[in-house]
């Protein structure tokens, strides 16, 4: 376990991650434990994150060492696509029982690896650690090592049991497993000046294939994909690539950065969501490859492809623009796609109402701000009721979000589109953007909305739940507007730190009384941010706004 905690510390020290780099030593030690509150909303665990990141490797057998819950409740539930092997969609688990818990599960794990190799003969087996075997002390590193020696085949330990942290940490621990055990262990048959690694792209709904034809046309070879439609061997020799593109925001930044450090492979962070993002990414790929020795003419050809594809996509989208005039979108999504989708929607002429940044990193938020100018509405903690009100007030005509929050929109009889991993459509590159616009149009103008919004014949107007909810919220707002004291009390009662239950008023008072200027000071005096630390950004905002109001006061005093 000591090596696991060392790895976690290493991941927390990731200099490529702005969020971690900005933390104090003490905060960093605690890590990205933006861990959820007991009884607060649920997110995935570190094991989930590790599996999400690696499972798209299509020819690998992914073996989950743990009780049935970890694999039995969740296997074959990802929308990634494969152009070859389907073994990644096979659920393998040791399904440990009571006896294993008492006597240890290492023997069963070893036998399980043998069974997989005998029956399925994959190029590699990835073994995922989970909470229960981690607790009873099963040493998966040792078992994997022994199995590798015995069977002469790579058996890779992925040490990311659920209870070490959230999904996001699991993504990075998965990257560490690749860096430690896979990358650089094999050599390619040949290399070309056009060899590109794509890191952090999972080929959901086959969207990588919306971009690959363009790369093919330019002669750029996807040398290794980590991990969408990837192969074990490709990852093993990925250290010989000329350049890399990191797609999925921060999920695998450690892989991209350490490959640059160890093997001198330069990378950039880009996106294929949206027309301009796609063009920028193609240019950046060409630029990096040329820097590493590809002929200059690659850029000319790239520009030609960009010009052609942009013209085609714009023409396709242009026909929708009049239909989207004045239409507003409520975008609710996690870190992966927030910033990339914002740009894409604006290109289609849609107006954005707000974007939730629950899972986004600070940098993601900065990007959104940059893209949306000062109008960015950051909706951190919207209740379903507020969300409904927002939709209902016609502030939004359609909601785009991940699968789990769809029911709020649908039950409110509002158009909705899935943009997270469970979606069935691919939205990457130029064709993907056109597809997204087409889907939004289909959802917005479907004739069902008018029908489902109609009251049942026996319903009395103004008594359905929608009307009641609206009236209730209006009444609350009116009561506050009429009573400044209550309004101020309500404002001050807003919870800033959920872990330690500290409200805005307490923090403002402490800042004023002790002339606090940083989060550490606030923590010392109020204990806010003394838990998971996730609220430190909100506290920063409070400090900024208090400073703003304090300046005129000082000037007046002078």
């Amino acid at each position: 376990m000591s090596s696991l905690s060392a790895t976690i510390q290493d991941v927390f020290n990731e200099p490529g991650c702005g969020k971690n780099a900005n933390k104090s030593e003490a905060e960093r030690k605690k890590g990205c434990t933006k861990q959820l509150q007991p009884g607060g909303a649920a997110g995935g665990c570190a094991f989930d994150g590790a599996k999400i990141a690696l499972q798209p490797l299509t020819d690998v057998a992914h073996l989950i060492h743990g009780p049935i819950a970890c694999e039995g409740n969740s296997w074959d539930n990802r929308g990634a696509k494969s152009s070859g092997s389907n073994i990644w969609r096979t659920g393998f688990t040791t399904d440990i029982n009571e006896t294993d818990v008492v006597f240890g599960g290492e023997k069963r794990l070893f036998k399980a690896i043998r069974e997989i190799i005998e029956k399925y003969d994959p190029p590699a087996v990835f073994v995922y650690q989970t909470c229960v075997p981690a607790m009873i002390g099963d040493d998966i590193n040792a078992v994997c090592k022994a199995a590798k020696e015995k069977f002469g085949k790579p058996v890779i330990p992925v040490n990311s049991p659920g209870f070490v942290g959230p999904k996001n940490l699991g993504n990075k621990l998965a990257g560490e497993a690749l860096l430690e055990h896979v990358i650089g262990t094999e050599e390619p048959e040949y290399t070309t000046p056009y060899d590109l690694n794509i890191i952090g792209e999972y080929n959901l709904a086959g969207e990588l294939w919306q971009v690959k034809p363009l790369l093919d046309e330019l002669g750029i070879r996807i040398f290794s994909s980590i991990s969408g439609d990837g192969r074990y061997k490709e990852v093993a020799y990925s250290h010989r690539a000329k350049a890399a593109m990191m797609v999925c925001s921060k999920a695998m930044i450690n892989v991209a950065r350490k490959m640059e450090e160890r093997y001198g492979i330069p990378f950039f962070e880009g996106s294929f969501y949206g027309i301009e993002d796609s063009s920028d990414s193609l240019r950046e790929i060409a630029r990096l490859l040329i820097e590493r020795g590809a002929p200059e003419e690659l850029m000319t050809r790239t520009e030609a492809v960009i010009a052609r594809e942009e013209a085609k996509a714009w023409a396709a989208i242009a026909s929708y623009k009049p239909r989207f005039k004045g239409k507003k979108v409520l975008l609710i999504t996690g870190g992966v796609k927030s910033w990339s989708v914002v740009a894409a929607l604006q290109e289609a002429g849609l107006e954005l109402v707000g974007t939730s940044v629950k899972k986004s990193t600070k940098e993601d938020k900065e990007r959104i701000k940059e893209l949306m100018g000062q109008d960015a509405h950051m909706i951190d903690d919207m209740t379903p009721r507020e969300m409904y009100k927002m939709l209902k007030d016609a502030k939004a005509d359609i909601m785009l979000s991940g699968g789990r929050s769809q029911f709020i929109a649908l039950k409110a009889s509002m158009p909705w589109l899935d943009i997270n991993q469970e979606r069935h459509h691919a939205y990457m590159g130029y064709v993907g953007m056109v597809k997204l616009v087409e889907e939004i149009d289909k959802a917005l103008y479907n004739p069902i909305w008018e029908q489902v919004r109609k009251a049942a014949p026996w319903e009395v107007a103004g008594t359905n739940w929608q009307a009641v909810a609206m009236a209730q919220m209006d009444a609350e707002a009116a009561a506050l507007a009429a009573d400044p004291v209550a309004a101020e009390a309500a404002r001050r009662a807003k919870k800033i730190c959920n872990c330690k239950s500290v409200d805005l008023g307490t923090i403002e008072d402490a800042v004023a009384a002790h002339r606090l200027i940083d989060v550490e000071g606030v923590r010392t005096h109020t204990n806010a941010s003394g838990g998971c630390g996730a609220c430190s950004e909100r506290i920063d905002d409070i400090l900024a706004s208090v400073a703003m109001t304090a300046v005129p006061a000082l000037q007046a005093a002078e």
């Binding site: 509150q37 007991p38 009884g39 997110g43 039995g72 409740n73 296997w75 069974e115 909470c131």
Partner: protein, 459 residues
């Protein structure tokens, strides 16, 4: 008849089984204003949540105590306490249902003790109904989690009536197994009401996960049976348990309230429904309504039409024990041969499945057996889709999860009508398969050296 064997593999491949705690959580979802809480790491809840969302296509209430590595080792009192207080504060539930998981059972957290302590220390939750069930992931399966949880709900929530003489003859308790869909529960409710009976379902997924538009947004369950109604279930004249798994809860009810019970192991098929309808007629003292006499006739006619297609089919079925017993028996009664049967956990009904052996195993086992024994009809949950593609045989989705088709919550298999529709559905799959893959050609019966044996085997 059937012998039950336990798989000997070290590695389960393509699991059929799901875990116990989420079976328990689903049972809690049949209570009104409930918040199921898994005492484990956040992934335990998250995986279950995603599974249910994909199956029901509904918002699902489910919470976690978010156990970290350190909390797991030191014990989870603080996490359970925080979770209960947070849930109470944020979602105002009428009941919190707590299931343990593998992580917290390995440590051996005394959750019953924790609850007592939480009630003592926090007066605001002193009277909040809370039910705790021990459901380690490394033991048993989904169905067992449901079974234990419903039994526990009866033990904790049902009040012993003051006088047995005051039993209400019209009231009937129904304890449905987890193999019944919300649609099935609605059907049973209608049937009972047609006999003038007043059923209380525990749990009542028909009220909560039937896909209705709620009156208001609540983060807890919308609909389902209320805690106060559960408390009065002891006054009912009868308890009807559906599925052998519910024997335990029915016995708990009898022990608590003296309510007599009858277990109906199956509600799919002609015979089982005759027994069920006769029983209702008997306890209600009413003749069988015309509606059911006609439905019975329709079912008999459906059986006559379908036996041409289903008769002789070699069935490969993978399901939890009660569902396996119900569906395989019904198909056996139409002339199908139960050729491969795989299940998840032990049950007394397995020995009575109409086949030689039932294996407690996974979908790899089912696929291997189906292939070796030449099965030509596959019945299992959605995870059978890969096997169906490789086996290239008609595939009827039954059980949970069913994430790749719509209407999982309304798939009906109980009653005369539900049986009739199920028979039509399966027969149509067989007919379509015949049209698409087995239309005769001039070469179908041609005798060649290597095809001689093969043709004989398939036709």
């Amino acid at each position: 008849m059937a012998t039950v064997t336990l798989g000997k593999k070290a590695c389960a491949v393509n699991p059929l089984k799901m875990s116990q705690p989420i079976g328990g959580a689903l049972a809690f979802m049949g209570l009104r204003g409930a918040m199921p809480l898994l005492h484990g790491s956040q992934g335990c809840t998250s995986f279950g949540l995603v599974l249910f969302v994909r199956h029901f296509k509904e918002a699902i209430p489910m919470q976690t105590t978010a156990m970290s590595e350190v909390a797991t080792v030191l014990g989870g009192y603080e996490n359970v306490e925080q979770a209960v207080l947070n849930i109470h504060k944020r979602t105002k539930p009428e009941i919190i249902g707590i299931c343990s998981t593998g992580v917290t059972e390995t440590k051996g957290d005394d959750v019953e003790g924790y609850i007592k302590l939480i009630r003592q220390n926090h007066p605001e939750v002193a009277n909040l109904p809370m039910v705790y069930v021990s459901t380690p992931d490394f033991k048993d399966a989904f169905q067992d989690g449901w079974e234990k949880t419903v039994a526990r709900m009866v033990e904790v929530l049902v009040e012993t009536p003051r006088s047995a003489a005051r039993r209400d003859p019209a009231r009937v308790n129904v304890l449905p197994g987890c193999h019944l869909t919300p649609g099935d529960i609605e059907e049973v409710r209608t049937i009972l009401e047609d006999f003038g009976l007043e059923p209380s379902f525990l749990p009542d997924l028909g009220g909560s996960l039937d896909g209705h538009i709620p009156d208001e947004f609540t983060p807890t369950t919308i609909g389902g049976i209320g805690v106060e109604e559960v408390a009065t279930m002891g006054q009912a004249a009868w308890t009807i348990a559906i599925g052998a798994q519910m024997q335990r809860a029915a016995e708990a009810m009898e022990k608590k309230a003296g309510t007599p019970f009858k277990v109906f192991e199956r509600l799919c098929g002609l015979g089982p429904n005759d027994a069920f309808i006769s029983f209702l007629s008997e306890i209600s003292g009413r003749p069988v309504p015309l509606k059911y006499r006609r439905q019975r006739g329709q079912l008999v006619d459906a059986m006559l039409d379908a036996h041409f297609h289903v008769g002789g089919r070699k069935l490969a079925i993978g399901a939890e024990p009660d569902l396996l017993f119900d569906l395989s028996s019904m198909l056996h009664e139409l002339g199908a041969h139960v050729t491969a049967a795989v299940t998840t956990t032990q049950s007394p009904v397995l020995a009575r499945v109409e086949t030689d052996d039932v294996l407690i195993g996974d979908l790899e086992d089912l696929e291997t057996l189906a292939k070796a024994r030449g099965c030509d009809l596959l019945v299992t949950h959605s995870h059978g889709r890969q096997a169906a593609e490789r086996l290239h045989i008609p595939f009827y989705r039954a059980g949970m999860p069913m994430f790749d088709r719509l209407g999982a919550g309304h798939q009906l298999s109980v009653g005369y009508r539900g049986t009739r529709d199920t028979i039509f559905h399966i027969s149509n799959l067989i007919i379509a398969d015949h049209e698409e893959n087995h239309e005769p050609t001039p070469d179908t019966w041609r005798i060649t050296d290597d095809a001689a044996g093969h043709a004989a085997a398939t036709h």
